[in-house]
């Protein structure tokens, strides 16, 4: 499944783009983008050991927590900003998305779909927090902070002035084309700011509201 996501994303990214990979991990995907798409890549990763792995691969990498912002990068430094690992684990995903759109023109986000039918069934029939192959941990151990579905994410984009240029859905068997909100376990979206409204995302006291986009 993750292979499918990476395959899809690397097809979306034009050759020689400037790419920032947030949560770059050990740099394997970014290295592949550099090799197959000749991108000028850079990673941000919080774990020192994974940063060292990126250095071993010869990647430019920055050790930092994306929750602290991306102040080290100037406005519109990148063509693509990738958030492929952890969107539902971020404390303030909307703030990070705004930072991503400050430093890059396009943002690609992957997230887990919490409306997959096995999740729905488990809540309905067992009355307990679901555990699946892709939600393998108990509620008290999970890294996930935000539980949202593909439809939720589409609403979020609409309300915050973000356009979905393309999207792809996956489950354990591969790509999902029909009824993704029911059948997909992972979604990946190619986003840009609505060029007309140029609105951005702010979150205050748990409410989402839209404001004029400011760089």
């Amino acid at each position: 499944m993750y292979l499918g996501i990476y395959e899809t994303v690397s097809h979306w990214i034009p050759e020689k783009s400037r790419v920032l990979d947030l949560g770059a991990g050990d740099g394997a995907f970014l290295e592949r983008l550099v090799q197959t798409r000749q991108v000028v890549g850079e990673g941000v990763e919080k774990d020192a050991e994974l940063v060292a792995r990126c250095v071993e691969r010869g990647l430019v990498v920055h050790q930092g927590d994306i929750a602290d912002g991306l102040d080290q990068y100037g406005d519109q430094t990148f063509d693509f900003v990738l958030l492929l690992g952890t969107f539902q684990e971020l404390v303030s995903p909307a703030d990070i998305l705004r930072e991503a759109f400050r430093v890059g023109r396009h943002v690609v986000i992957a997230h887990t779909n919490f409306a997959h039918f096995s999740v729905r069934l488990q809540v309905l029939l067992r009355g307990r927090t679901p555990m699946t192959q892709f939600l393998p941990t108990h509620w008290y151990h999970t890294q996930n902070l935000h539980f949202f579905s593909i439809l939720d994410f589409q609403d979020f984009c609409r309300e915050t002035g973000i356009q979905e240029l393309n999207q792809a859905y996956f489950n354990i068997r591969g790509a999902v084309r029909f009824l993704p909100n029911l059948r997909a376990e992972e979604a990946v979206s190619w986003l840009q700011l609505d060029p007309i409204s140029r609105r951005s995302v702010t979150v205050e006291r748990g409410k989402t509201k839209t404001e004029p986009y400011q760089i």
Binding site: A48, V55, E56, V61, Q63, G64
Partner: protein, 393 residues
């Protein structure tokens, strides 16, 4: 409690008993060259300068594999291998040698004693040509940038147009930065470690305590002291203060705790003290044997005065820079805290300079780059080899 990491107990290679230590490089030598003079930033002209330096490894036929190692405050040209007279290992022997972080099998290593220091490079202990007596405090104020000009003189002398890399920790990191900024054509890769672009008030404050300890020593005599009566008490205290700032609270707890030891003085008296006390006394006493008090004043002044961006706004100063950077800091370093390295990284990135940044979780404080440190060594080694083998277009 977890087993005590041996590298923390061993500490760095300076001023410790190293009878059991073997360097794979064997005995290494330092040479001295007399080179065309320089005009310092303060306007003083040296007609010529003596430069003490060590080289290790072999310069490639293309002359493209030279790495300049810039020493920190207490380091000198003797960077690795065993000293022929004192049998002391070089100050960075843990990380410089065959197969080590800075690999002498692949790279040609150059390390230079600093202008204004007390190696055999021109400094306050050198003889003033007009008088035939040591400069002492008549030595002109020197800066990090002056030290870099002397290093460039040596590169000219050795016929090295462009370094592959400049690397240094602490004060050495300042030199590496100044070289990449002031002489952009001369270096391809810059690795500043546990350093900053200018000292904070706290960093200046600790240096001032050291300087005051020296200048308040009655033997200092305005800098005119004889070899047999140097202000060694002041210098020892300066070094003790320095050592506290180079460690971290947890490293000191691990290494010393509240352990006590009994020492016997020459007169046969017994005295019990905390081991951290005897450690600091030992560090102070061995430092004064090899370091000149006036040089300590000059070098700490140079560090405090350093400002990478004294020439203008960061964006302008960095516009000429051609090097790629690897910036390393240590989470437990409270003397050069990671926030200073992150600010440097931010300024470099905002100037569109390719820079990687790593903040290692080593618990040894500022000294983390001087001790045996596999995580640190691994990153430096891979970075250097990658950049050398696959230079970007």
């Amino acid at each position: 409690m977890a087993a005590l990491p041996t590298n923390i107990v061993q500490g760095d290679l300076q001023d410790q008993k190293t009878a059991d230590y073997q360097s794979p490089l064997g005995v290494t030598h330092t040479q001295t060259a007399t080179l065309p003079g320089i005009r310092t930033q303060s306007g003083f002209t040296f007609e010529q300068v003596d430069v003490a330096y060590q080289t290790l490894g072999t310069l490639s036929p293309a002359r493209d594999n030279a790495i300049l190692i810039c020493p920190a405050l207490s380091g000198d040209a003797h960077v690795a291998g065993m000293h022929p007279d004192t049998s002391r290992p070089g100050w960075w022997d843990y990380h410089v040698g065959p197969g080590k972080a800075i690999d002498t099998d692949k790279f040609f290593i150059i390390c230079v004693s600093m202008l204004g220091g007390c190696g055999s490079t021109t400094g306050p202990t050198s003889l003033r040509p007009e008088t035939g007596k040591p400069y002492g405090m008549t030595f002109p104020p020197v800066t990090i940038r002056d030290m870099v000009v002397v290093q460039i003189r040596l590169l000219d002398h050795l016929g090295i147009l462009q370094l592959f890399a400049a690397i240094g920790g602490s004060m050495g990191g300042m030199q590496a930065l100044a070289l990449a900024v002031d002489h952009p054509q001369r270096v391809r890769v810059c690795i500043p470690i546990a350093t900053c672009t200018s000292h904070s008030a706290m960093q200046i404050a600790f240096n001032e305590i050291g300087r005051r300890a020296i200048s308040n020593d009655p033997d200092w005599n305005e800098g005119n002291y004889n070899a047999d009566r140097r202000p060694i008490r002041g210098l020892a205290i300066a070094r003790m203060v320095g050592h506290v700032t180079y460690l971290s609270e947890s490293a000191m707890t691990h290494k010393f705790g509240r352990e006590r030891r009994t020492e016997h003085s020459a007169s046969g008296d017994e005295a019990t003290s905390f081991s951290v006390e005897s450690y600091l006394h030992h560090q102070g006493q061995s430092f004064v044997k090899r370091f000149d008090p006036n040089a300590y004043l000059y070098l700490t002044r140079a560090i405090d005065q350093f400002d990478l961006f004294e020439g203008g706004p960061a964006a302008e100063v960095l516009r000429q820079v051609r090097a790629r950077f690897l910036v390393i800091s240590f989470a437990s370093d409270w003397l050069y805290p990671p926030v200073q390295s992150r600010e440097l990284v931010r300024q470099l990135k905002r100037a569109n300079i390719p820079v990687s940044y790593l903040n290692l979780e080593t618990e040894y404080g500022h000294d983390s780059f001087l001790i045996e440190n596999p995580a640190f060594a691994n990153v430096v080694r891979h970075y250097l080899i990658n950049e050398y083998v696959h230079p970007p277009n």
